[in-house]
């Protein structure tokens, strides 16, 4: 026993000596841990502190309220209304399939669309928009089923609204989410995916002012992404309001006059360039286009044969037909090719190159001077003149009148039309100009095309004896931040310096067109109107002499009437183009007359923004530069 105890005692001693090493080990390990903690907390502390801040905060974009759009008299054309958006946060969704099914049942969503918007892959933390523009009833329905639909939320949002529907649709445009291509452009750099921008019309060209500046809210989130509290708020600033030059009453009238027909009516103030009305039909509903469209809806709009998305006023290109005779007469007089007394005998046709170019009047007009030729729209006179001038001189004058160029109206994708010349034909078609083509071009047929907007500027230029202003559609911007109204100035165009006699002759003849010529239906008891009719042949019908209703509507002529009034002291230029309506004097002229009469009857109202700042304010200069850049 004692031996064993003795051995045990020795062993215990040895064991306990060994345990002293445990003490050293303990100190070593604790020291190492402390060192590691010093490294993490003191050395790298700042770094980890930043990481923890990034962890806990998340930036939430606060969308700005888009600026309002008014007409020249303060009539509201575009505003924002509350709308309900349906969002789904996949993270909180237990059963994706069941959710899709209930959404399809509750609000009648398309199953495939929903499925596409709620992909199984990708971030589950971000709420995804499944539908916007829920009706109040749908929103209430979703809310009442809230407990059965985890992860589904209805958010009140701001939806662009155009109170008068289709009115001025092409001019106002519509809004939509910024596309990924657009995001790469410098003008949209400050935006983020999902931002709403103007996609058409003034909404697009003045988007920079309208859209405002997004704010940012920094929120504290937990690991699941739930918002815990708001750390910081950078308020969004609302967009600036626009005052257009449009007169809503005149605009509505113009649209009513077009009715179901395709075409365009433009009215501008000659002394300022203010566009008072710009109607294009068929139109689209900007309210519909500003919401998210399904592929099917979009396809339907794009493939519509009437091309409702085309603004016929600035993008429709038509042969100017007889309205081109204004340019021709000016060219003839300016070059001295004809003078006031030059006479041509019209026998109803003009033989050239082995064929006869016919006049619209088969019997012929008899002996015509230049004024008669405009008043009665004698083709033969202008065939003769064209033959003498040559295509390149004609092109040069068309160019001076602004044809073949953008008018500079602040609307996207304005078209230029075509002013043919020998050089043009070589360049574009790599063909030689044929002499016979000059004859057609002399009466505004053949290759020549113009937009109604360009013809409006031709009339404004004639009305102003060469002085005209760039067409403008926005006359003032009201800054939200300051409440200041910045008037945008009228921008004069280069003067078209023609001889006074030339303008005089044009004024006289154009008034004659209405008083005793082809546009008798534009004659008004209220005001003296000057104008020119045009009947543009569609390509297929060049030599078809069938009349009226035998011809399928699609192949009938386009009716033009270009005008200004009052003839003695012009204030307004009005251009009407109605597609496939036939004779311009019969179909377009009366419409122009009604627009002019409405304008003359209404008092030339003083625009509402009386507290305007002077036009030369530096802010305006900046604004203008930004718009035109």
């Amino acid at each position: 026993m004692s031996t064993r105890s003795g051995t045990q005692h020795d062993e215990l001693r040895e064991l306990q000596q060994r345990l002293i090493l445990f003490k050293i080990g303990l100190l070593l390990v604790v020291g190492l841990l402390a060192l590691r903690l010093w490294y993490l907390q003191i050395n790298e502390g700042d770094y980890y502190h930043d990481l923890s801040e990034n962890n806990r905060t998340r930036a939430v974009v606060l969308e700005p309220v888009r600026g309002l759009i008014y007409d020249r008299n303060g009539v509201l054309l575009a505003n924002n209304v509350p709308s309900f958006g349906l969002y789904v946060k996949l993270e909180d969704v237990k059963d994706r399939k069941a959710l899709i099914e209930s959404l399809v049942n509750l609000v009648g969503l398309d199953e495939n669309t929903v499925r596409k918007k709620l992909p199984e892959r990708g971030s589950k933390l971000l709420p995804r928009k499944v539908k916007d523009g829920l009706t109040l009833r749908e929103a209430a329905l979703i809310e009442s089923h809230r407990l059965d639909l985890p992860g589904v939320t209805v958010r009140a949002e701001s939806q662009r609204n155009y109170p008068s529907g289709l009115t001025a649709a092409h001019l106002l445009g519509y809004v939509g989410e910024v596309s990924s291509d657009q995001l790469e452009k410098p003008e949209y750099t400050e935006l983020h995916p999902g931002s709403i921008i103007g996609q058409y019309g003034v909404e697009r060209t003045y988007d920079r002012f309208l859209r405002g500046r997004a704010g940012q809210k920094t929120v504290e989130v937990d690991a699941m992404g739930h918002e815990k509290k708001t750390v910081e708020v950078g308020k969004p600033s609302a967009g600036d309001d626009l005052y257009l030059t449009i007169d809503a009453r005149l605009q509505s009238l113009a649209e009513q006059l077009l009715g179901e027909e395709f075409g365009a009516i433009i009215a501008i103030e000659t002394g300022t360039g203010d566009v008072l009305a710009m109607a294009s039909r068929p139109a689209f509903d900007p309210n519909v286009l500003s919401r998210e469209l399904t592929a099917k809806q979009w396809e339907k709009i794009v493939q519509d044969e009437g091309h409702p998305l085309t603004n016929r006023a600035t993008q429709g290109q038509y042969p100017p037909a007889s309205t081109f005779k204004i340019v021709m007469a000016a060219a003839g007089l300016e070059t001295g090719t004809v003078n006031l007394t030059t006479k041509v005998r019209c026998m109803g046709g003009y033989p050239f190159g082995g064929r006869v170019y016919r006049d619209w009047k088969e019997r012929g007009h008899g002996v015509m001077d230049v004024m008669d030729a405009i008043v009665d729209s004698c083709d033969v006179f202008f065939y003769t003149l064209g033959q003498k001038l040559g295509i390149d001189t004609m092109a040069q004058f068309a160019d001076r009148f602004g044809l073949g160029h953008e008018t500079g109206i602040e609307l996207p994708s304005e078209r230029t039309g075509i002013v043919p010349s020998t050089a043009w034909k070589t360049r574009v078609r790599n063909e030689i100009w044929l002499p016979g083509e000059t004859i057609s071009a002399a009466i505004g047929q053949g290759y020549t095309t113009v937009t109604p907007m360009q013809m409006t500027m031709v009339m404004a230029t004639v009305a102003g004896n060469g002085d005209s202003f760039r067409p403008r559609i926005v006359r003032a911007i009201k800054e939200r931040a300051t409440g200041q109204v910045l008037d945008l100035p009228s921008v004069p165009r280069p003067k078209l310096a023609l001889k006074p006699e030339t303008y005089e002759l044009l004024h006289e003849s154009l008034e004659g067109v209405v008083t005793r010529g082809t546009a008798g239906r534009a004659r008004s008891a209220l005001v003296r109107i000057a104008g020119k009719t045009g009947t543009a042949q569609t390509a297929a019908l060049k030599d078809d002499r069938r009349k009226g209703t035998d011809i399928p509507k699609k192949l009938r002529d386009h009716a033009w009437f270009v005008s200004y009034a009052p003839a003695e002291a012009p204030r307004i230029a009005v251009v009407v183009l109605v597609e496939n309506m036939g004779h311009g004097g019969s179909w377009a002229a009366p419409l122009a007359k009604q627009v002019i009469e409405a304008y003359v009857k209404s008092k030339p109202a003083e625009p509402v923004t009386a507290d305007a700042v002077p036009a030369e304010s530096p802010a305006v200069a900046v604004a203008m530069r930004e718009v035109h850049d």
Binding site: Q16, L19, L28, Q41, Y48, L51, N55, D222
Partner: protein, 375 residues
């Protein structure tokens, strides 16, 4: 034996180590505080987690006193019975245990769950100490293989759950006791001892040289219950929590990592990170000091134990506590891979708390009786 005569004297204040108790109380308090700060009161109906932990500590105090008052020689006599009981419980866990997060570790008893693997460590220390005291300690067979065979069924049952963390602690107890008891050559013993001490850091070197996906594969292979597949998410969030505490910490409730739940398991395995985020480097130094003090005092107990059983028991218990401490803190600071090992006395958990306090009771028991006469 005469020592039984002196039993009545043993509970006098002279022999009661207040420093030891003070350290335990301090660490327990800091643990409850951290749990309190990180687990908000959810519903009125459910008991707050920190209150549950307080209840466990109360039970733990019972276990502490129980282990303190009974003579450890008597407890030692029950060692093999306890070990057999443990194996039965571990089998019960596998058959009828509660599964949570892919592992089957718990036996539900009424409203509580009981985790036998936490007690396995304590029982193993007792069993091995008893074995080494009773059996001759000569020869490779008796020193290493036989105790290894005794230990093995428990280890396999624990790994089967699977519970890698408990398995590793369990194994570490066997190895530590082997080292304390088995090595004749002083030099070799020293060497091996250092090797064990430095093993975690050496492992870090090897482990650190592996690619992430290799580690992930290894980890998910050994312990599918643990999320290492989150690309080291938990480890990173833990380092962010600790590092962002900086010198002075973010204060109670101020820990954004833990409050906003970026830090997983804030009240259990990562309670150290919660503490470090809230109290900073200074707080952490204090805490490390408390732990070091506790182990230091425990080592004193082992050194001054009056007999082989006492010394062996103490050494085993120290190894058990120290291993959990080092591995847990090591994983939260990013030195070791993440394995589910709780921080003794701080992590929320009934079985862990009760088992640890029982172990500490046993340690104090050894100290109490070292003055009793041997013969």
């Amino acid at each position: 034996m005469i020592d039984r005569v002196l039993d009545s004297r043993s509970l006098t204040p002279d022999h009661f180590d207040w420093r030891f108790l003070g350290l335990i109380a301090a660490i327990l308090s800091l643990g409850v505080l951290s749990i309190y700060s990180v687990t908000p009161v959810q519903a009125v109906t459910s008991t707050p987690v920190y209150l549950k932990q307080l209840a466990w500590i109360a039970i733990g105090c019972g276990a502490f006193v129980a282990m303190l008052v009974m003579d450890y020689h008597k407890i030692s006599r029950l060692a093999y019975v306890l070990y057999a009981l443990l194996l039965v419980l571990l089998v019960v866990v596998l058959v009828a245990g509660k599964t949570s997060r892919g592992a089957q570790r718990w036996i539900p008893i009424g409203p509580f769950v009981f985790q036998p693997s936490e007690f396995a460590k304590l029982v193993l220390v007792l069993t091995l100490a008893t074995y080494y005291t009773r059996s001759p300690r000569q020869g490779w067979m008796q020193r290493v293989v036989l105790p290894g065979l005794i230990m093995l069924p428990g280890l396999l049952l624990i790994l089967k759950q699977p519970d890698l963390g408990s398995g590793l602690s369990y194994l570490s107890i066997y190895i530590s006791m082997l080292l304390v008891v088995g090595m004749r050559s002083k030099a070799m013993g020293t060497l091996l001892l250092f090797a064990v001490m430095l093993f975690p850091f050496a492992w870090e070197l090897v482990w650190g040289s592996l690619h992430d996906y290799q580690r992930e594969r290894i980890m998910t292979f050994v312990d599918p219950a643990y999320d290492t597949g989150g690309k080291g998410y938990h480890g990173l969030q833990s380092r962010i929590a600790i590092g962002s505490g900086e010198l002075l910490g973010k204060g109670l409730y101020g820990g954004t990592q833990s409050q906003l739940k970026f830090l997983p398991e804030g009240h259990t395995d990562f309670v150290f990170a919660v503490f470090a985020e809230e109290w900073g480097f200074l707080g952490v130094l204090v805490l490390l000091g408390l732990f070091a003090g506790l182990i230091w005092l425990s080592l004193e107990i082992a050194l001054k134990a009056k007999d082989m059983l006492g010394a062996l028991l103490a050494a085993g218990l120290i190894a058990m506590l120290a291993f959990c401490l080092v591995i847990n803190i090591g994983m939260t600071v990013g030195l070791f891979p993440i394995v589910g090992i709780p921080l003794p006395l701080m992590s929320y958990g009934g079985s862990s708390t009760v088992a640890t306090m029982a172990a500490l009771g046993l340690l104090l028991n050894i100290k109490r009786r070292r003055l009793t006469l041997f013969y």
